[in-house]
């Protein structure tokens, strides 16, 4: 068929434009991933999983350039004592990074980890590969094959401060691919922060293995450069009584596709994912979540909020799959959009697929305009139209931001959101 041929050509063009890092323990996984990419082909418009998001700009061999936004903000998470690992356009910056040694955790760079019997060998590409069924995620496999760098984090205890991956964007034409692997041992706990625009185009995969009773906290702020594009994948597998919490805030960006693939494999585990995004104009933001319950008495929670205006588009595809025997599952999913004008749109596809008979799953999806009564009430008290709109917008996002467990981080994100909104309206 002509379309298959086209897809093959596009996939081969992308592969031809990339160089696979050679040698070392990851080589086999990379070759394996490349074979998967060739079998699946890169996403195309007619793929059901890409129905609401055009993959073109993410799959074309050459990334579109993206202007760099100089917003003059102080670095995010500056109020938090943390270990910084800095990448500039996807290239590790040793000068700007902190010393990677920290008690309770071992941190290495993917590009520098050469020992043949590395712990990450069994994980690199493994959770990604596992996440390819039942839905193909070719961009993640492409990343496993070609990622140039990333961090390998082995958490053995409870490090005293969060690890912060900082992504600077300095070249207007950068096309970066990073792959991170995080392994938490039994009872370990860590907070991982990510922030920054990263590159003109950014493809990132993070694989997180959470052992029994371990706890993983993740807070991410995607950079505000208007034209940047990103495809991110977060794969995780959860052991018994473990916890996984991930929150992402996105403001601006021409194209963002955040996929999150969670598998609850141990009993009594909890997974919470949340996202808050604010989009204006030429903005397309897609949250795609797939949660598999494959153990007893697990809980999962998805809270996604999108504020859209001036023709911005928001997408949510969220699925909860409850396998046979995954009794006492408690699954919750909510996706809501606040449309600030008639030009913006929100496309949602919530899905439940349940093969156990003793479960509680709920999902809801709404789109709404700003509450005119509330707006008038605020204005009648002297609050300007713009400030009242911001206040109601923040209130709308609050439920998602509340999902961040650490109060300091929550306040930092809220403060940032409020200052961004303020500046936008002035």
């Amino acid at each position: 068929m002509a379309e298959t041929k086209l897809q093959e050509t596009a996939t081969e063009a992308m592969i031809a434009s990339l160089d696979m890092p050679q040698g070392g323990w990851a080589q086999a996984a990379r070759e394996d991933a490349l074979a998967r990419v060739r079998t699946m082909g890169l996403p195309q418009r007619r793929d059901e999983y890409w129905k609401f998001t055009r993959p073109d700009t993410l799959t074309q061999a050459e990334a579109l350039p993206a202007a760099i936004l100089d917003h003059g903000d102080a670095p995010l998470f500056d109020d938090t004592e943390r270990l910084r690992i800095v990448f500039v356009d996807g290239v590790f910056d040793a000068e700007a990074s902190d010393d990677l040694s920290l008690e309770g955790v071992k941190i290495e760079r993917l590009a520098a980890a050469n020992t043949d019997l590395h712990w990450a060998r069994d994980l690199y590409g493994a959770l990604e590969k596992n996440g390819q069924t039942p839905v193909a995620r070719p961009l993640a496999a492409l990343n496993t094959a070609f990622a140039t760098d990333g961090v390998l984090i082995h958490v053995t205890g409870k490090p005293s401060k969060p690890i912060n991956l900082v992504y600077h964007h300095k070249s207007e034409t950068s096309d970066a691919m990073l792959h991170h692997v995080v392994k938490l041992d039994t009872g370990a706990e860590v907070t991982l922060l990510e922030n920054g625009p990263a590159a003109a185009r950014f493809n990132t995969v993070m694989e997180v293995e959470v052992a029994d009773t371990a706890r993983f906290h993740h807070v991410r702020a995607q950079g505000r450069d208007h034209e940047r594009r990103a495809a991110t994948h977060l794969f995780t597998r959860l052991g018994t009584e473990s916890l996984f919490k991930s929150f992402t805030v996105t403001v601006n960006g021409a194209m963002t596709r955040n996929e999150c693939v969670i598998e609850l494999t141990g009993d009594d585990a909890s997974a919470h994912v949340a996202g808050a995004c604010v989009g204006d104009g030429d903005f397309h933001h897609d949250d795609t979540v797939f949660i598999t319950h494959d153990a007893v008495n697990c809980e999962s929670r998805q809270v996604y909020k999108k504020v859209l205006r001036n023709g911005a588009t928001g997408v949510f595809q969220g699925k909860i799959l409850v396998k046979e025997g995954a009794q006492k599952t408690d699954g919750y999913q909510i996706s809501q959009s606040l449309l600030l004008d008639g030009d913006s749109q929100f496309l949602a596809k919530p899905e439940l697929e349940i093969y156990a008979d003793d479960v509680a799953c709920s999902h809801g999806s709404t789109s709404g305009a700003i509450d005119e009564e509330a707006l008038f009430y605020l204005r009648a008290r002297g609050v300007s139209h713009a400030e009242a709109t911001d206040l109601l917008t923040l209130a709308f996002l609050a439920e998602a931001v509340e999902e961040i467990e650490a109060e300091g981080l929550r306040e930092e994100i809220n403060g940032r959101l409020s200052s961004w909104l303020e500046r936008r309206s002035s």
């Binding site: 009648a380 008290r381 002297g382 300007s384 139209h385």
Partner: protein, 251 residues
């Protein structure tokens, strides 16, 4: 202070005239009450004065200390000193009551070119005023009017009024949904704000609120007009005989 002349208002959506020539003058330091049957246009008057969407002024004027109210945005009217205590205070999930009040106080100060109130000063003032109105710390922390009882919502309106210190207060059926004790509390809050420089327009169906907030002048409104004006005794007349007699008398 508040000067309304020949005010004509119709609904924007439909061609329906609600106010048909309202004339009203509220002086500083005075409490005026407007009474009238359902549908006479009392609430419309309060909404039009505060700048709610959906109404079209077809004739007449409304000024506050010489400022043309009808030409101002709702927030500008508030900054000019106008306050409306809502008949149905709006619930706003996600916005803390305290944040709301501080934003409002500082927005008005900013609009008037005054310095913003510091967080510490604000806290001190609001605690004292909340205590007078028996509003506890928990109510201040909760989202605006969320989970408040009818009485709590009305007390919260009065608290806002006390914090914003407006020149002209309009109370739209503040007594509705209140039991006797709550009404007393609200009335005390209002009375505490009665000063020489401040005017009040109290809109109510019933005379009972006026037992607690003693008016200087009482107006009867019917079919979009003020049809009769008198002293406090006019309210008692309504209480005893209903509106029918007065309406008949005027016609």
């Amino acid at each position: 202070m508040l000067s309304i002349k020949n005010l004509h208002v119709k609904l924007e959506e439909e061609d329906k005239q609600i106010l048909k020539g309202v004339d009203l003058e509220v002086e500083a330091g005075k409490v005026h009450a407007i009474m009238g049957p359902n549908g006479s246009g009392k609430s419309t008057l309060s909404y039009v004065l505060s700048g709610k969407d959906g109404y079209e002024v077809t004739d007449g004027s409304a000024t506050l200390e010489g400022n043309d109210l009808l030409d101002l945005e709702p927030e500008e009217r508030a900054a000019a000193g106008l306050f409306l205590a809502f008949q149905y205070p709006v619930e706003i999930p996600g916005v803390g009551n305290m944040t709301f009040l501080r934003t409002a106080v500082n927005a008005q100060r900013k609009a008037r070119g005054e310095e913003e109130m510091s967080a510490a000063d604000f806290l001190k003032v609001i605690r004292a005023k909340a205590k007078d109105l028996k509003i506890d710390a928990d109510m201040l922390k909760r989202p605006v009017n969320m989970g408040f009882s009818g009485g709590e919502k009305k007390r919260n309106e009065i608290l806002q009024m006390a914090m914003l210190e407006p020149k002209m207060c309009i109370l739209d059926e503040t007594d509705s949904g209140l039991d006797v004790d709550a009404m007393k509390l609200v009335a005390e809050g209002v009375n505490a704000l009665r000063t020489e420089g401040r005017g009040f327009l109290v809109i109510t169906h019933y005379q009972r609120l006026l037992d607690h907030i003693k008016p200087d002048v009482v107006h009867i409104m019917s079919d979009g007009r003020i049809i009769k004006t008198g002293g406090p005794e006019l309210a008692l007349e309504v209480e005893n005989n209903g509106y029918a007699d007065i309406l008949a008398e005027v016609v």
